[in-house]
């Protein structure tokens, strides 16, 4: 019976997959599990070599990106004044679209694996940084008082108290990072690489080799699931106890509007200085590496400035129409599944591998399938964005739900409260900080998703505009679109922050310190 429970779900999923593949055989869009297995066996050498290359780059990017995130988070907590700046710069860098960064990285690094490793690192650092910042603050204030009463300073508090409290959040971040690093390394190969899983994926799609396409996707998924499980096991080994106390509340401080405005101006100035200074320092040609003044000219003074602005505005409108529903649907699905899994843990055997798979299968592999089933219209696009958003939300919410104080759930249980009541009164409030962390991470992630879908499948909006501009060497337009995308992300981020402040001031005020 237990065996049935454990393996029944996955077995049914594989059977459905096999049946679907035979149903769609004429469409060249989905390969059956049996065909994939056969391909993997026949081409074991090729696949192993490609996997080795991409995995090495992904691992390097994973280590570098997460190390950077831990360092930045440490800085932000040790020097609280720097946090807002660190968050702002980290967000801006994370928002840079691949279409723009790929070619620049390739010119910077020349031949080799530089762009692959960098893109893998860029894909992970932000999703680790944000949960970590939340975790470092998820500390009962009386513990910090205790450190202070022993005459110790911030560093002691950071290393002895905050770092321990942040561990569960770090584990969540690393679990989200594992598939992202692999995808980043694959996409990095699109900038011109000799070998690797990304190179083979492009080849397979062009050759309409469905078995090869899905064999690559399966391999990528297996690796991502394995990495996810290993990090989870290590995490469980370290995090043996449930959080012992309800987090106590320090007084919430609110920033004055003037202060918020000053921070905004300061961050903008820092971004502009880094942008201009970075390109100058690297001596990159202004043909493809546009400076702020180039864009000002192209958007305000050039003869075709009005046309450029009109094209940008139209593309932005087209993008926003899909972005909002996709983002909200992804958040809802992620949080909803996390709650369902807490209520019915046996679902996890089927749902978790599927969820990780959805996130890990490269979107270029799944996009044609989703488009075939749901069409090229709104439903297909919204679904693809939701798929990208849903996984980080699910993982963060699952970890958040487990943060429910043990004593509180014990008290509820001793009063014979139903699992639903425990969920509602204890677990969901405990989950909220993690949910909002995910909501923030997902602002740039959903924008990246919508631009990728527009580029690959629907052919409109900012994604298509960026791809078109790059192929026509219209780098003024490309960089303008990049700036616009970044502004969108920052605005969305601010909006989530507003909502979060209102909700958390009721349920988890220690986060607002």
């Amino acid at each position: 019976m237990t065996t049935m429970r454990r393996w029944g779900g996955p077995l049914i999923a594989v059977a459905v997959w096999e049946a679907l593949a035979h149903l769609f055989a004429g469409a060249f869009v989905l390969a059956a599990p049996s065909a994939i297995l056969l391909y993997l066996v026949d081409n074991a050498g090729l696949m192993t070599r490609a996997l080795g290359v991409t995995l090495t780059n992904a691992a390097a990017g994973f280590v570098l990106g997460n190390a950077a995130a831990i360092l930045l988070a440490g800085c932000a907590i040790a020097l609280p004044r720097s946090e807002i700046m660190i968050r702002a710069l980290a967000l801006v860098v994370f928002c840079l679209p691949l279409v723009a960064t790929g070619p620049v990285l390739r010119v910077l690094f020349g031949p080799g694996t530089g762009p692959q490793i960098t893109l893998a690192a860029l894909a992970v650092y932000y999703t680790t940084l944000i949960p970590l910042l939340v975790g470092l603050r998820a500390v009962p204030s009386d513990w910090l008082d205790l450190v202070r009463s022993y005459g110790r300073g911030r560093m002691t508090a950071l290393l002895r108290v905050r770092a321990m409290a942040a561990l569960p959040y770090l584990v969540a971040g690393l679990q989200i990072a594992a598939p992202a690093a692999f995808l980043g390394a694959m996409v990095g190969e699109f900038t011109g690489a000799e070998r690797g899983m990304g190179v083979l994926t492009i080849r397979a799609m062009r050759d309409m080799n469905v078995e090869m396409t899905w064999a690559l996707a399966t391999l990528a998924t297996v690796v991502a699931v394995a990495a996810y499980l290993v990090i989870g096991w290590v995490g469980q080994a370290i995090l043996t106890e449930e959080p012992p106390v309800i987090l106590a509340a320090p007084a919430a401080t609110r920033r004055k509007p003037a202060m918020a405005f000053a921070i905004l101006v300061l961050s903008t100035a820092a971004v502009l200085a880094l942008w201009w200074g970075g390109l100058e320092a690297l001596n990159l040609s202004s043909f493809f590496a546009k400076r702020p003044d180039d864009l000002l000219d192209a958007l305000a003074f050039a003869p075709d400035a009005a046309q450029t602005r009109a094209a940008l505005i139209q593309a932005t409108e087209e993008t926003l129409v899909y972005l909002f529903p996709g983002y909200l649907a992804g958040l809802a699905a992620g949080a909803g599944l996390a709650m369902a899994l807490v209520l019915a843990p046996m679902l996890a055997n089927t749902a978790m591998p599927l969820a990780i798979a959805l996130r890990s299968v490269p979107i270029i592999t799944t996009a044609p399938l989703v488009v075939l089933i749901l069409g090229r219209g709104a439903v297909g696009t919204v679904t693809l964005i939701a798929i990208m958003v849903f996984f980080p939300t699910l993982i963060a919410c699952l970890h958040g739900l487990r943060q429910a104080p043990g004593r509180a759930t014990d008290v509820m249980r001793s009063y014979a409260a139903s699992p639903v009541a425990i969920l509602r009164h204890v677990r969901i409030p405990a989950m909220l900080p993690a949910f909002f962390a995910a909501a923030r991470i997902n602002v740039p992630a959903s924008i990246l998703a919508v631009t990728v879908v527009e580029w690959l499948a629907t052919g409109n909006g900012l994604g298509a505009l960026m791809a078109l501009s790059a192929s026509l060497s219209d780098y003024d337009m490309l960089w303008s679109a990049v700036v616009l995308t970044t502004l969108l992300a920052v605005a969305g981020y601010g909006l989530v922050g507003l909502v979060e402040r209102r909700v958390l001031s009721t349920y988890a005020p220690e986060q607002l310190a």
Binding site: A50, V199, M205, R206, D476
Partner: protein, 333 residues
């Protein structure tokens, strides 16, 4: 690249062991001399699309001219123009329309050779519902990147076809939407997606746009004006090796295909697909024009036809975009 294929002649020549053995094999001592390192930026992933260059490398057509050439693959997110502009690559492979667009944005490019005399753009359809001539497009759904709308517009203008009677469906660059029946035809290269369908056993029809007045040089060799002035010798050597490579390619496309698969065992290349592609690009690259004047050549007439089509694409260019002096030196005119 060297580490991946340690047993080809090419890499043997490039290593110290090759150099030591060169004298005993009676090879020209020039090969052993110091070589100038040069990057050559290709426009796509390694495949028989660039097999002439692989032959040049394998046979030592470049090393005997004092060049050590590194062939840089392209990809979906690897535009050719930035590495050439920044000097990372001495020469790149582009096409007249992309080069014209880059020049309009201030890139100082010159076209110094034309690999594809006939543009490879084609309309691919299923044989059961074929597009044999431009007028067949009316009433059909065409799958393509929206970015290529000007290309379709130009074809329609040249052939008096009403573009509004064609339904444009934005699709990814793949034969799949055609095979699945989402569209009736595709705008693609004659040498890739139709080949994939044929190999997968899907009967298909291609209509080459070059046969219907669409005259745009493709797979063109571009360099900057600066390197044309200051690195002339290297560019002549690079083009000379390239020309020799493609002339050898033409003699035996099967051997060229085998070399490609041998040099890039990790590229996931299918021999049948690669061989068919290699055969199909021969008529695009070689013609009476090149028979008389040599690989890569063009005339004032073909340039004039290009300028006309480019104008339809919204690109105003003059014949100054082309510079034949390198080819003239290579072919000894």
């Amino acid at each position: 690249m060297k580490a991946s294929a340690p047993f080809t002649r090419r890499s043997l020549l490039a290593t110290g062991a090759g150099a030591l053995g060169a004298a005993s094999l009676g090879l020209s001592p020039r090969m052993v001399h110091a070589q100038t390192n040069v990057n050559f930026q290709l426009s796509w992933l390694h495949s028989t699309q660039f097999a002439g260059s692989y032959i040049a490398q394998d046979r030592g057509f470049w090393t005997e001219r004092g060049l050590s050439v590194s062939l840089q693959p392209g990809g979906p997110n690897a535009p050719v123009e930035p590495p050439v502009v920044s000097g990372t690559a001495l020469m790149g492979i582009s096409a007249a329309d992309y080069t014209a667009a880059a020049v309009a944005e201030g890139a100082p490019f010159k076209i110094i050779g034309v690999a594809m005399q006939n543009n490879p753009f084609a309309i691919a359809s299923l044989t059961a519902n074929p597009v044999n001539q431009p007028s067949d497009l009316e009433g059909k759904r065409i799958g393509m990147a929206l970015a290529n709308t000007p290309v379709l517009q130009a074809l329609c203008t040249i052939n008096d076809v009403d573009i509004d009677a064609i339904e444009i469906v934005p699709t990814q660059y793949s034969p799949q939407p055609l095979v699945a029946g989402e569209v009736d035809c595709l705008l693609c290269w004659a040498t890739d997606l139709p080949v994939a369908m044929t190999v997968q056993g899907v009967d298909n029809t291609t209509m080459l746009m070059a046969d219907h007045g669409y005259a745009v040089h493709s797979q063109t060799y571009i360099v900057t004006e600066d390197s044309l002035a200051n690195r002339r010798e290297d560019i002549v050597a690079l083009m000379a090796g390239e020309v020799a490579g493609w002339e050898t390619y033409r003699e035996d496309t099967a051997a060229a295909t085998d070399l490609t698969l041998e040099m890039f065992p990790d590229a996931g290349l299918d021999r049948e697909t690669q061989l068919l592609q290699a055969e199909r690009q021969v008529p695009l690259m070689f013609s009476e024009l090149t028979d008389n004047n040599g690989f890569g050549w063009w005339t004032d007439q073909t340039v004039a036809a290009n300028i006309e089509t480019l104008a339809l694409l919204g690109r105003e260019v003059s014949s100054d975009l082309w510079d034949r002096s390198i080819l003239e030196e290579v072919h000894g005119v």
